[in-house]
C-alpha cells in the first residue's frame, strides 16, 4: 500500500499550523489547500502578488484580473492583500513565508533540491522556484517516492541541476515522511501497509528510524494498492 497524490497532500495539510503563511507549488502541492482541517486559518501566498488566496474561482465567476502563479483564476478570502512582484518576493526571499510546499525531481541526503530542469527538457524555466527554495524557512517537498521508472528520487547526491542546496526540511512521499537534518535523513512515518525496511529499500541514502516512527494517519480513501502503485 502507499498513498495517492491526494493522500500526500492530505498528510502535508495536517502539518501546517494555524496562522502559517504558505506558498504552494504546482502539482501535488496545489492539492494541499483542499485538505486544511476546518477552522484552521492558513494564509496562502501566490508569487504574482496575492496573500490570502481562497479556492479556485467557480466557472463563470472568474475575475479576469485575478489569477494565481499557476495562471488559474482564484478568489480572495477576507483579510487578503494584493501587491507587486518586488513585495511578493520580499516575502519569499526575506524569510517571511513559513512554508513552501514544492514538487521535486530529486532530493539529496543533505536536503539539496532539484526541481527546475527536467531531464531532456528543451526549454528551461525557473519561475519562482529558486527564490522559494532559497528564501522560505521550511521547504516541504511532496513527490512520489520513485521515478516512473521505479528509481529512487531521494539520492545521496542530486544528478540534476540544483534549485538550491541544503534547503529541504521535510519530504512527504506516497511511501514516507522524512525529515532532513544535519545528522541525516530521519524516517518519521511510513505509508499504511509499508514498514521502514521497505521504505529504505526504495531510498538511496541511509534512513535513521526515529523512536516513535509510525504509520501515517491518512484516511483509507487515500490509500493505494501496490498494484496501482506499480503501474504508475
Amino acid at each position: 500500500m502507499s498513498l495517492t497524490r491526494e493522500g500526500i497532500a492530505y498528510r502535508v495539510a495536517q502539518e501546517l499550523p494555524e496562522g502559517s503563511y504558505v506558498n504552494l507549488g504546482i502539482g501535488i502541492p496545489t492539492l494541499v489547500s483542499g485538505f486544511i482541517p476546518p477552522g484552521r486559518e492558513i494564509f496562502f501566498h501566490s508569487e504574482n502578488g496575492i496573500l490570502g488566496m481562497g479556492p479556485l474561482a467557480e466557472p463563470g465567476h472568474e475575475d479576469a484580473d485575478l489569477i494565481n502563479a499557476g495562471k488559474q483564476y482564484v478568489t480572495l478570502l477576507p483579510g487578503a492583500s494584493l501587491f507587486d512582484h518586488p513585495t511578493s518576493f520580499s516575502m519569499i526571499r526575506g524569510g517571511h513565508i513559513d512554508y513552501a510546499v514544492l514538487g521535486a525531481l530529486e532530493v539529496s541526503a543533505s536536503g539539496d533540491l532539484a526541481n527546475w530542469r527536467t531531464p531532456g527538457e528543451k526549454v528551461p524555466g525557473v519561475g519562482g522556484a529558486m527564490d522559494l527554495a532559497f528564501g522560505v524557512r521550511n521547504v516541504i517537498v511532496t513527490m512520489t517516492h520513485l521515478t516512473n521508472k521505479g528509481k529512487p528520487k531521494i539520492l545521496n547526491r542530486c544528478t540534476l541541476p540544483l534549485t538550491a542546496p541544503r534547503c529541504v526540511k521535510y519530504i512527504f512521499t506516497d511511501m514516507a515522511m522524512i525529515e532532513v537534518t544535519s545528522q541525516g535523513l530521519l524516517l518519521r512515518e511510513f505509508a499504511p501497509g509499508l514498514d521502514p525496511p521497505i521504505v529504505q529499500s526504495h531510498t538511496e541514502p541511509p534512513l535513521h528510524i526515529v523512536s516513535g516512527c509510525r504509520e501515517m494517519d491518512v484516511p483509507a480513501k487515500f490509500h493505494r494498492a501496490p498494484a496501482a502503485q506499480a503501474t504508475r
Partner: protein, 233 residues
C-alpha cells in the same frame, strides 16, 4: 496643461527602434498590454530584447512578436510553458537568445534600475547553474551573488485606471511586474481600461505615480484576452 494621454497604441510604439530593450508588463493576462503589443508587432522594429516573466502564448501578443522574428533576445523567468510554441520553435532553432533569471531576481533587478541602484547581493541562485560565474561573497554567513540593475529603453504595461498626469491604479493581480517596470525605462506607456479625470484616483490609491509614466492610452482589452476571460482557461 500637462496631458500625457495618447489617442492610439500606434503612437505609443512609434519611437521603438531596432535593437531596443523593452520591459513588457503583466504576469499572465493581468497587466499585460495586449493592444500595445499588437501595435508593436505591426510597427516593424526588429532585433528587440524583451524582458517579461514568460514567453507569451500562442501567436498573438508576445507570441506574435516572436513568431514574426522581431525578437532577438528574451530575458525571462519562465518561458517553458507548453503554450509558448512561437518561442520554443525559434529558441530551438537558435533564432532567439534566452537569459533565464529567477522571478524574484528579475523583479528586483528591474526595481534596482528604477531606484538608481547599481545592483544588489541576493542568496537566490548561489551554488546553482544560474549563479555560476557570478561574483559571490559571504554576507551574514550566507553565500550571496551579485545581480546588476536591469535598465531598458521602453516599458509597456497595462493598468486599470489612469489619468492625464500618468497616475496609474491597478486592480487585483495587475500590479505584478508593472510597478517596478514603470520606473526602469526611458519611455513608459500604459494602456488602461479607463481614463479618469485628474483626482479620479484617490492619492492613496495611486500605485504608479505619474512621475514614472510618459503616456497613457485608453483601449478596450485585446479580444484574445476577453475571450480567454469569459471562457476561462
Amino acid at each position: 496643461m500637462v496631458d500625457k494621454t495618447l489617442k492610439t497604441c500606434e503612437e505609443a510604439v512609434a519611437g521603438v527602434f531596432d535593437g531596443a530593450t523593452i520591459l513588457l508588463g503583466g504576469f499572465g493576462d493581468p497587466g499585460l498590454p495586449g493592444q500595445i503589443l499588437e501595435a508593436l508587432r505591426l510597427q516593424g522594429a526588429r532585433d528587440l530584447t524583451i524582458v517579461h516573466n514568460g514567453a507569451g502564448g500562442g501567436t498573438h501578443a508576445l507570441g506574435g512578436l516572436i513568431h514574426d522574428g522581431k525578437v532577438r533576445k528574451l530575458i525571462a523567468s519562465f518561458p517553458a510553458n507548453p503554450g509558448n510554441q512561437s518561442f520554443q520553435e525559434k529558441y530551438l532553432k537558435g533564432e532567439v537568445e534566452l537569459e533565464i533569471v529567477p522571478q524574484g531576481t528579475l523583479a528586483e533587478r528591474i526595481r534596482a534600475a528604477g531606484a538608481g541602484l547599481g545592483g544588489f547581493f541576493t542568496p537566490t541562485g548561489a551554488g546553482t547553474e544560474l549563479g555560476a560565474g557570478k561574483e559571490s561573497r559571504m554576507i551574514n554567513g550566507r553565500e550571496m551573488i551579485f545581480e546588476h540593475a536591469l535598465h531598458a529603453d521602453f516599458a509597456f504595461v497595462r493598468a486599470y485606471r489612469g489619468d492625464r498626469l500618468g497616475n496609474l491604479n491597478y486592480r487585483m493581480a495587475m500590479r505584478n511586474f508593472n510597478v517596478p517596470m514603470c520606473t526602469a525605462a526611458k519611455f513608459v506607456v500604459a494602456e488602461v481600461d479607463e481614463l479618469v479625470p485628474v483626482g479620479g484616483i484617490d492619492p492613496e490609491d495611486v500605485h504608479t505615480p505619474g512621475i514614472f509614466v510618459d503616456h497613457v492610452v485608453e483601449v478596450v482589452r485585446h479580444p484574445e484576452y476577453l475571450k480567454i476571460t469569459t471562457e476561462g482557461r
